[in-house]
Amino acid sequence: MASKYINITLKVWRQKNANAKGAMETYKLNEVSTDSSFLEMMDQLNEQLINDRQEPVAFDHDCREGICGMCSMYINGRAHGPDTGTTTCQLHMRKFNDGDTIYIEPWRAKAFPVIKDLVVDRSAFDRIQQAGGFVSVNTSGRTMDANAIPVPKVDADKAFEAAACIGCGACVASCKNSSAMLFVGAKVSQYALLPQGRVEAKERVLNMVRQMDEEGFGNCTNTGACEVECPKGISIENIARMNREFLKAALTSEK
């Protein structure tokens, strides 16, 4: 790992608060180690801004190991930047070259309003989850034994692949329609594939889709951008499964 140092130009979206008008600002940043993660580069920028008595750039981040789903930057025209299967926090500066100009913007969607700079409000995802993303069992622990119902490994694995979603919103950000179908499809699929989730499969898919529509996300036009940009590689076959589940539920639901 021979580390290099590069000088870069950053064009960053700055917006004081939700109601303010934002604009792209330009910053020069020198001596960035190529071993740094993208967010460490942002730390470095903020340190520079603070030293210059300017306000640092607000951005969401937490675990910095690609699992919490908090980081959310649109870098050089792509959600989480140029690398695939990566969150912004796992993107490293070795993917960039000396002299590069890097554009950094917040997720753009009506359902994800900007709070400040690069920070957006993704609570729409929480509300979709609250509409049906659960199994209605109580928390007594007095359910049946964990091994009472065998689950085919293929189904368990597929459920896991769907459940790997970190709720970062890259699917929405990269979709030209700001559609949340990959997120919702993944959640619906996880439960639809497991016997424990089948019991309320109908209500779940109807309620979650209704909430999704109410939040103002766009529609899916199957461009497949979401699965390419999803840091966890969640497949659009989960969207198809949701479509299937929805059709079944809509046709047979008694409501």
């Binding site: 025209g77 753009r108 529609n219 899916c220 497949g224 076959e237």
Partner: protein, 315 residues
């Protein structure tokens, strides 16, 4: 059945897009097979086959229903598509300053609304050029005629006959009245001349045949000559059939071929996308559907495009 879900939800809108889209794919296949008669069968036989086909397509009750389904599908597909596009646009009020969508998706997939709108415009023009002329501008739409060549001489007999759906062949020179585009009614003069002609040969025509001796007796239906219309549109001289020859057939040809390229791109995404929308995604079959969709999206528009090219080249 959950009414609100099946009508208004974003997913239901996708089902409708997919169902109407797939139906229109089927329509394309039928349409193409019919159209291919324009170039696959030569001469009078081809003309006859095509015009008979056109007649069948406009008169068979089952086809009639199908054609209404097709119109509705096109309308629904277009309106739903435009509504979706507007909704999707609204879902992102502020655009990215810098975007690089080609990194994650193909151009046709992102431009379905634009491609679809272009196709809609094409359909309107296409229907004005052919369907409207055939269906409604009845006065300008000549019927299928052909020249008799007696087998003995092989020379034109001088008789030009209407080719009719009842199997009768009626001389163009005779006095008919043609109403509703292709319905042939007798005229007094012709009736009298026919009675006279019969008499002179010692035959008698049963006057009961013409109990209502006015002009309201339909004796046959002529085939509208769509075949010649098409040929004239793409540059053939069909003035003897009563068609104005298109003086700029190259433009018609170019626009038609361009439209087929647009259709090809639309199908390239649309075909397999419809299956995805309907939830038909399977690790084994989806790759096959995608391959088939690609072949379909190339072959069908290509087939359509070849027809005017061949017609143009045989001018």
């Amino acid at each position: 059945m959950s009414k609100s879900a099946i009508l208004s939800s974003s997913i239901a809108k996708k089902y409708w897009m997919a169902l109407t889209g797939l139906f229109l794919c089927l329509f394309l296949v039928g349409h193409l097979l019919g159209n291919l008669q324009l170039i696959l069968i030569d001469g009078e036989d081809g003309k006859r086959a095509f015009n008979e086909y056109a007649y069948f397509m406009t008169h068979n009750p089952f086809i009639k229903i199908l054609s209404y389904v097709t119109y509705i599908s096109i309308l629904f597909h277009a309106v739903d598509g435009i509504l979706l596009a507007i909704q999707n646009k609204k879902a992102r009020p502020v655009n990215y300053h810098y975007n690089n969508p080609s990194a994650n998706s193909k151009l046709p997939a992102r431009q379905m609304a634009v491609l679809g709108s272009a196709i809609l415009i094409f359909i309107v023009i296409h229907m004005a050029n052919f369907w409207w002329k055939m269906k409604y501008s009845s006065k300008q739409m000549p019927l299928h005629t052909y020249v008799v060549y007696p087998p003995q001489t092989g020379n034109p007999s001088g008789d030009t006959l209407y080719y009719t759906t009842s199997g009768m062949q009626l001389p163009v020179s005779a006095q008919f009245e043609i109403r509703d585009g292709n319905k042939i009614f007798i005229s007094d003069e012709w009736l009298n001349s026919e009675i006279e002609a019969a008499k002179s040969q010692g035959q008698e025509i049963d006057p009961k045949m013409f109990e209502n001796k006015d002009k309201n007796v339909e004796i046959a239906e002529g085939y509208k000559d769509l075949h010649s219309l098409v040929y004239a549109f793409f540059g053939h001289n069909r003035s003897e059939q009563g068609f104005e020859t298109n003086t700029m057939p190259e433009i018609a040809l170019l626009l038609y071929v361009l439209s087929m390229i647009v259709l090809s791109f639309h199908l390239m995404h649309g075909f397999s996308s419809a299956f995805q929308s309907l939830g038909l995604n399977h690790r084994k079959y989806t790759p096959l559907i995608k391959k088939f969709g690609l072949v379909f999206s190339i072959l069908v528009p290509l087939g359509f495009a070849i027809i005017p090219i061949v017609i143009y080249l045989t001018k």
